[in-house]
């Protein structure tokens, strides 16, 4: 599989995310990513033959990672904890991480809006599953949307909420989720 330079692919992916976050979604050019990754443009194109493939990899990695984390949290979750509560906790953690986790999404949809469809279908899947596991639909809706709001704020690097407020929000949601 991999060889000496080994993690070129990962480095490139990370570099792309960094560039998108730091210089803006519109400035995500192959040259910039290659420079940032410490890789030549030829090397980048070797790993990702096209820009679209790069974006696709970004999206797929992101979804797969979150999916795995969710699965892990689910099975490892304390018994008696509702799936909705698990979802809330995990999402809040992710949102709490180093601020601008996934602003490359903007670059991806700027490149091609169709990159939204896998994300949308993933979200719908998660939501549908939650719907089957949560007796109180109203609570589900409120909590799910609030988490979506949290995700959005962190995506836009918003500073409307203080740390205390974020924590209060999460505890309130867990209370609602029961």
């Amino acid at each position: 599989m991999k060889a000496r330079r080994a993690n070129s692919r990962e480095k490139i992916l990370a570099a792309a995310a960094d560039v998108a976050r730091e210089t803006g979604p519109g400035s995500l050019s192959l040259d910039a990513v290659a420079n940032r990754a410490g890789v030549s443009k030829g090397g980048l194109l070797y790993n990702f033959p096209t820009k679209a493939k790069l974006m696709q990899a970004l999206v797929e990695d992101y979804l797969r990672e979150f999916g795995h984390a969710l699965e892990a949290a689910r099975t490892a979750g304390a018994s008696g904890e509702s799936p909705l509560a698990t979802y809330i906790k995990l999402s809040a953690e992710h949102a709490e991480e180093s601020k601008p986790s996934a602003s490359w999404i903007f670059s991806a949809i700027a490149e091609d809006p169709d990159f939204l469809t896998p994300i949308k279908s993933f979200r719908r899947q998660v939501f549908e599953r939650l719907k089957g596991e949560t007796p109180d639909l109203k609570a589900l809706l409120v909590c799910y949307l609030a988490i979506e709001g949290l995700r959005s704020m962190n995506l836009f690097d918003s500073d409307v909420l203080s740390v205390d407020e974020r924590q209060l929000l999460v505890s309130s949601l867990l209370e609602i989720a029961g």
Copy 2:
């Protein structure tokens, strides 16, 4: 014979929003906007001397419009209705409107991420005001974030929620808001 004079600006703004929505945020070129608006590129540049100015106008119009609507709803609001409830209703209405109301935001931040700052400061202003008017901070947080989630879903043209679910969500929020 129409006065092509007056409404050129508005036509261009509307065209820009349309193009961003239909062909994606990455395809918002001056040529595309000019064509869509039925205006030459020179004419466009006459009204908006630079692409950044166009985006700025888009942002400012959007913010001003929402600000006015909020002010109007506030004064016209039924007595006894909390400001938070007014905010929820208005935001839900706006989100319910023709689907992809403001996806041009993506184009703007792709052009220059700094276009986010006026939006962020506007949001913070609104939130701070709401905070001063709402006794129950937990309710505020939950409702505000859920609305933000709703905004995000409509921004990404998400179809996770059905119409019924959206309505249930809003009524639940109003219940929480009291």
